[in-house]
């Protein structure tokens, strides 16, 4: 059972916003559909990059997850929520969040509850690192706004946290206005970002 909300993505070909659907409670069928479309596209594009000797290839190869496994591992566990963004009949982005087990780290809110973004990704054809002309934009913004709204609904005042992949640090630092707490050696050296209630209000304005 899932809920759907109206959202919007930027269609780069049409040059305008188009209607999309935010799915709260992605089903195994949705995930299967996503992977069936994402995987072959990813393999094809990675191969192109490999042949051109693109030095970022290793980074790209480390940036795709098996969402089916994540769905299976978290299905039925009430601490987890999986969201998807659908547009033009395809899944354009996925996000898995935890609503427990990841207390805040910023001093002013240390120990307080937050929505932790376990994983978030846009479909490979939307990834500027992978393709020259990404298809849809705003997937990340829609999903992070979802996480913030969930945090507000849970009584966590908009607090969210996540570990950004290197290529995404700019988005979280500059566009989402999150606090960078530096590299987390317990999480593969990825930088940990956290959003305060004030930052959340600023993000949604």
């Amino acid at each position: 059972m899932s809920d759907q909300s109206v959202a919007y993505l930027k269609d780069h070909i049409k040059g305008q916003l188009v209607e999309a659907v935010l799915i709260d409670g992605v089903s195994s069928d949705d995930v299967e559909r996503a992977e069936a479309a994402w995987q072959p596209f990813l393999v094809q594009e990675l191969d192109k990059h490999r042949r051109t000797g693109n030095p970022e290839i290793r980074q790209l190869e480390h940036s795709h997850w098996d969402w089916r496994k994540k769905h299976r591992a978290t299905e039925g566990l009430i601490a987890y929520r999986m969201f998807g963004v659908e547009c033009d009949g395809e899944v354009q982005g996925l996000m898995l969040v935890s609503t427990a087990g990841h207390p805040c780290r910023i001093d002013d809110q240390k120990g307080k509850e937050q929505v932790y973004v376990d994983f978030v990704a846009t479909a490979p054809w939307n990834s500027p690192m992978l393709v020259e002309a990404p298809r849809y934009g705003l997937v990340g913004r829609v999903l992070i706004a979802t996480a913030v709204q969930l945090s507000l609904a849970e009584g966590f005042r908009g607090r969210i946290g996540l570990h950004a992949l290197p290529q995404a640090e700019t988005f979280y630092a500059q566009k989402c206005g999150m606090t960078d707490l530096g590299k987390d050696i317990k999480k593969q050296g990825l930088r940990y970002f956290e959003m305060t209630p004030v930052q959340a209000a600023g993000f949604l304005q």
Binding site: R50, V120, L150, L165, F193
Partner: protein, 157 residues
């Protein structure tokens, strides 16, 4: 739960968000390569390719069978088995590990995608490479060498 997205708010940010990656979580494989863009040396050049070759042949698979099962490029599969200087990408190593039921992290080290963390792995890889030769069917010696090396790779998994 219902969520709301202000169209005007999204429109305002559409251009500035463009060309920015958003992925967050963890690296998709257990470990990072030693450094982005740099290649680590394999503990024993050729050992990885030899392991793939023998594991494939033990199953009675052709290269085509391996390519289909692991969903990798045929050209790369051939290069892995025949070019000891070639270092496949981490995703290829991951796919091969899954198809051949070999431990991923050690395969990443053996292939040169990760720095060697297990000194004994290097020694075992040398021993394995020395004991195996390229023949059509697995010789008894190759079979034994393969069994022992795979047994070691799976230890403390």
């Amino acid at each position: 739960m219902k969520f709301t997205f202000d169209k005007e708010w999204l429109q305002r940010h559409a251009d500035s968000d463009q060309n920015l990656e958003i992925a967050a979580g963890s690296f998709s494989l257990d470990q990072l390569p030693p450094a982005m863009g740099e290649l680590a040396a394999s503990p024993q050049p050729g050992a990885f390719g030899r392991l793939i070759n023998l594991s494939r042949r033990k199953r009675g698979w052709t290269i085509e069978d391996l390519v289909a099962s692991a969903r990798i490029d045929a050209g790369e599969a051939i290069r892995i088995e025949h070019d000891s200087s070639y270092i496949p990408g981490p995703r290829t190593v991951y796919q091969l590990s899954t198809a051949l039921d070999l431990p991923r992290e050690r395969m990443l080290q053996l292939s040169g995608n990760m720095l060697l963390r297990d000194r004994r792995l290097g020694e075992q890889a040398v021993k394995f490479a020395a004991r195996s030769e390229s023949v059509e069917k697995l010789s008894r010696q190759e079979h034994q060498a393969l069994e022992e090396f795979v047994k070691y790779l799976n230890e403390s998994r």
